[in-house]
Symmetry: C2
Subunit: 229 residues, 2 copies
């Protein structure tokens, strides 16, 4: 009998924001997999580290951190490594920062493995609501339309979506910060915008966009726009 | 010294999807508050029930389940009840289904109490990603723009937003289901749509929208639209 694939959301950064279910499953699986940059630690693994049992087999999938899509062969190879354990009857838990199904690379492994193996997704706390909590303001209320947009979209598309939404979350701010500042100023939305980096982590940084100097924003940063404010 | 207000996200339904932090704080606070319908149990309290210590004081805020905004006096009165405990030096944890800052009534209590008392928000797993997990498909990938829209929006606005997004989540489907079905059919999005009710609960129901009969949808139901499918 084949093993089961788990996609485990480990939340936004604070290990205490992991769910009881994520912690329980990690205590039970014989194999843990994670995605990591070419050199350096996996963010998701660092969050879950204290809950990974000693002696657990580990698969580290190295993903180059370049703009644009990774080659399909990278996920083909990674899926085959995981499939080898699953075919051998061993459950594999893939650790995912935030939630497995919200802008995560887990989707590419799931595409390849879900047709062949049983699969359980354990949703996690996303950076969306972690940033809202850090900002001290609601992300969306009552009948508000919320737009979730990656900073990588072209200017014209970003402007159209930001102009049309009641509230918005701009993800993956990083090197796009100066461009986003200009764009939000043009839309008259600077005062409505809050910058949040590394929400729930020790180095969490929250600032009104208007007060933010020429900071180099990390990849895991977000701008929340709330027109009701 | 005043007590601290906690907004605690208890997740989408399965108590095991509560975070370690939510469970810890509940074990420590002397007062728990929740919102409930005029008659009947609070959804959030039912999720967290096993973690509420015996002997904890409880505040139940009864909210009439009518369309449209509740009277401001309802939240004024509820905030005053909570403020009495806080002023007395006792911490109060308000239980919130899903996440406190994503379409929750907690925002109205927070508006009134945060200017006067220290406040900590504990983000929770939202129904958005719980429904995606149940549907077995990613909510958003890479550069996709995700629209989160309440079903209560007017037809023209819903259509515009659904037509423009790469992926969408339509919340609070309930009695709007027949209208949404017609509207998604007009947009040619029936095949791209999945219906999910009561995600992660014992009575979870997932169906391709095209296969869904004339079900009466509960309030806690969602339609996920993924144009990449």
């Amino acid at each position: 009998m084949s093993g089961r694939l788990y996609g485990i959301g480990v939340g936004p950064g604070d290990p205490e924001l992991m769910t009881l279910k994520a912690v329980r499953i990690l205590s039970e699986v014989p194999v843990v997999a994670c995605l990591a940059p070419e050199d350096g630690e996996s963010t998701a693994r660092a969050i879950a580290a204290q809950f990974i049992p000693a002696g657990c087999a580990e698969i580290v999938i190295r993903v180059p951190m370049r703009p644009g899509p990774e080659p399909a062969s990278l996920y083909d190879d990674a899926a085959e490594k995981i499939a080898a354990y699953l075919s051998d009857g061993r459950d594999v838990a893939v650790l995912c920062g935030g939630d497995p199904f919200l802008y995560g690379s887990f989707a590419y492994l799931h595409d390849r493995l879900a047709p062949r193996f049983s699969c359980t997704i354990v949703p996690g706390v996303t950076s969306l609501t972690a940033c809202a909590a850090a900002s001290g303001g609601a992300l969306a209320r009552r009948d508000a339309a919320l737009a979730v947009v990656p900073a990588t979209l072209p200017d014209a598309e970003l402007k159209r979506r930001l102009a049309d939404a009641d509230s918005a979350a701009i993800l993956k701010v990083g090197r796009h910060l100066p461009r986003l500042k200009a764009l939000l100023a043009e839309l008259g939305l600077t005062e409505a915008s809050t910058y949040v980096a590394h929400a729930t982590r020790a180095d969490e940084h929250v600032a009104a966009l208007a007060d933010l100097g020429d900071t180099a924003a990390p990849y895991f940063s977000m701008i929340l726009v709330s027109k009701a404010r």
